[in-house]
């Protein structure tokens, strides 16, 4: 019951954007007519091209994000386990953290000569420090009492990480993941735009923007939002509910 009510609120919040969109359309030059966009949507979604572009970007994001998460997690673990590693990695993390996305994109494209791996590396490079910082801060707040219990029962490092540490820092993991995921999408767009990608969401979006095809621009934005919402509600929330079911 509670959950259904909340669902209605959520849907209401999204629907509320429609009149805002319409008002914006009436009052500015660049916002497309929502009705025109809606009318164009079915055709847009019927085109196989639309889906192949989404697929390639999804692929880049998925691999890059996975790499960023793994790398960031390893870095965070290393940083909390060894003072030396913390010092060394802190500088790497800072460097990555502060590198403007567009510069990273161009460099990766130059280094990998425009190969597919370049896009994946950019996403990885930009998301990993955010994962690392989020998790390191979580690990730093790890519960001493539980660590001691793990030590007494000789859980060993792997079990300790998996069953004590990770659940404890799960809130940090989720916020880091959520943010890294959003960032990955932002970065891939920057990378596809500045990296002159031929296919992919960013390429299509930029192409439409270049030609001021505002209906197309809006269609791509809608697709983009749909994907991110789907991940939020289809993956992150579901996982969160499962992981935190003990909170009763």
């Amino acid at each position: 019951m509670q959950r259904e009510n909340n669902l209605i609120i959520s849907i209401g919040a999204v629907l509320m954007l429609l009149p805002i969109w319409w008002i914006a359309y009436r009052n500015t030059n660049f916002i497309a007519d929502p009705f025109v966009v809606a009318a164009a949507l079915p055709d847009f979604l019927m085109q196989p091209d639309t889906w192949s572009n989404i697929a390639i970007t999804l692929y880049r994001v998925a691999l890059g994000l996975a790499g960023g998460v793994v790398l960031g997690t390893l870095a965070a673990l290393a940083m909390t386990q060894s003072k030396l590693a913390e010092q060394v990695l802190a500088i790497y993390v800072t460097t990555a953290l502060r590198t403007p996305s567009a510069i990273a994109a161009i460099m990766a494209l130059a280094i990998f000569r425009g190969a597919e791996i370049g896009y994946i590396v950019v996403v990885m490079f930009i998301t990993f420090p955010f994962m690392a910082v989020g998790l390191r801060d979580g690990l730093k707040s790890a519960d001493k009492d539980l660590a001691e219990a793990a030590q007494i029962y000789r859980l060993g490092p792997l079990r300790y990480i998996r069953h004590v540490l990770l659940p404890f820092i799960a809130p940090f993991i989720f916020s880091a993941l959520r943010n890294a995921h959003a960032l990955a999408w932002k970065v891939i767009v920057v990378a596809e735009i500045f990296g002159a990608a031929r296919i992919g969401f960013g390429a299509q979006f930029d192409h439409a923007w270049e030609y001021m095809q505002m209906v197309q621009v809006h269609l791509w934005l809608l697709v983009f939002m749909a994907i991110v919402l789907a991940v939020e509600y289809g993956v992150l929330r579901v996982a969160e509910r499962h992981v935190f079911r003990w909170r009763a």
Binding site: E148, Y153, R154, R159, H163, V243, W246, A248
Partner: protein
């Protein structure tokens, strides 16, 4: 170092300070294999600190702790198996009762096909079988404490450290568990160090009671319980010994008198 084969735990001149403030002044005692030792001491005298040192969690500030004739931090040997009932339960809130127990089994050498049976037996003894699939946050204080006891007993420990394990249980449940604990100890021959505030409980359970002074603590008395086993909790003998100890500790722990006052 002593070659006494029977002495498995030796504490010599043990001192613990926190940031320079002494919590334990100096403790000396030995514990023999299979002995059931109770620790009695006023609140804040350093009992939990002492268990933390013995278990290897807390490095001592001063003194020597030897376990099985080797210094506490001897890295070379395989650590003896330990069960520890912490003063606060320290269960993982994100794992059900069963999952909390399975976790320590997985880290032990108990074969997997015996897990379920062992868990069920212990949960029966502790009267919490029906909470096997509950989350810790769904349990009452006493139920959580009992899960923590189950965890400590589950791993076939040769040493069991217990920090006021029965303090949050009602008298009937506590009696039943004292009896079970006695039985487990007799059957397994484990060495048990048992911190309690209940003097009667100490007398009923222990071979010997180490009575500590107020903190920073020293050993006030090594009290051998002169009652043969099996013992009955309501045995008047136990009451007599209890009364004797109460007299001693009243002298030893005697509170500084607090001036008469108004409290709003």
């Amino acid at each position: 170092m002593t070659g006494n084969k029977d002495t498995v735990l030796k504490v010599e001149g043990l001192g613990v300070s926190y940031a320079g403030n002494p919590a334990i002044a100096s403790l000396d005692f030995e514990i023999k294999r299979g002995e059931f030792v109770a620790i009695l001491g006023p609140s804040g005298c350093g009992k939990s600190s002492m268990l933390n040192v013995i278990s290897g969690l807390l490095p001592p500030t001063r003194g020597v702790v030897e376990v099985e004739n080797l210094p506490l931090y001897d890295a070379g040997r395989a650590a003896p198996k330990l069960g520890y009932v912490f003063q606060a339960h320290r269960l993982l809130p994100w794992r059900t009762v069963k999952q909390n127990l399975e976790l320590v089994l997985a880290a032990s050498d108990v074969p997997k096909d015996r897990w379920e049976g062992n868990i069920d037996r212990l949960l029966d003894i502790l009267h919490i079988r029906q909470f096997k699939d509950s989350w810790p946050l769904q349990l009452s204080g006493g139920q959580r404490q009992r899960v923590s006891i189950a965890r400590a007993l589950l791993v076939d420990p040769s040493y069991i450290l217990m920090d006021e394990p029965l303090s949050t249980l009602d008298e009937v449940t506590a009696r039943s568990l004292r009896q079970e604990l006695s039985g487990i100890w007799a059957r397994t021959g484990a060495t048990i160090v048992f911190v309690t505030h209940s003097i009667r409980e100490a007398v009923y359970l222990a071979d010997r009671i180490i009575i500590l002074t107020r903190g920073p603590s020293t050993v006030f008395e090594n009290y051998h319980v002169p009652i043969a086993r099996p013992r009955a909790y309501d045995d008047p003998m136990i009451g007599e010994v209890e009364a004797d100890i109460v007299r001693r500790v009243e002298g030893a722990w005697g509170l500084e008198p607090v001036k008469p006052r108004e409290v709003a």
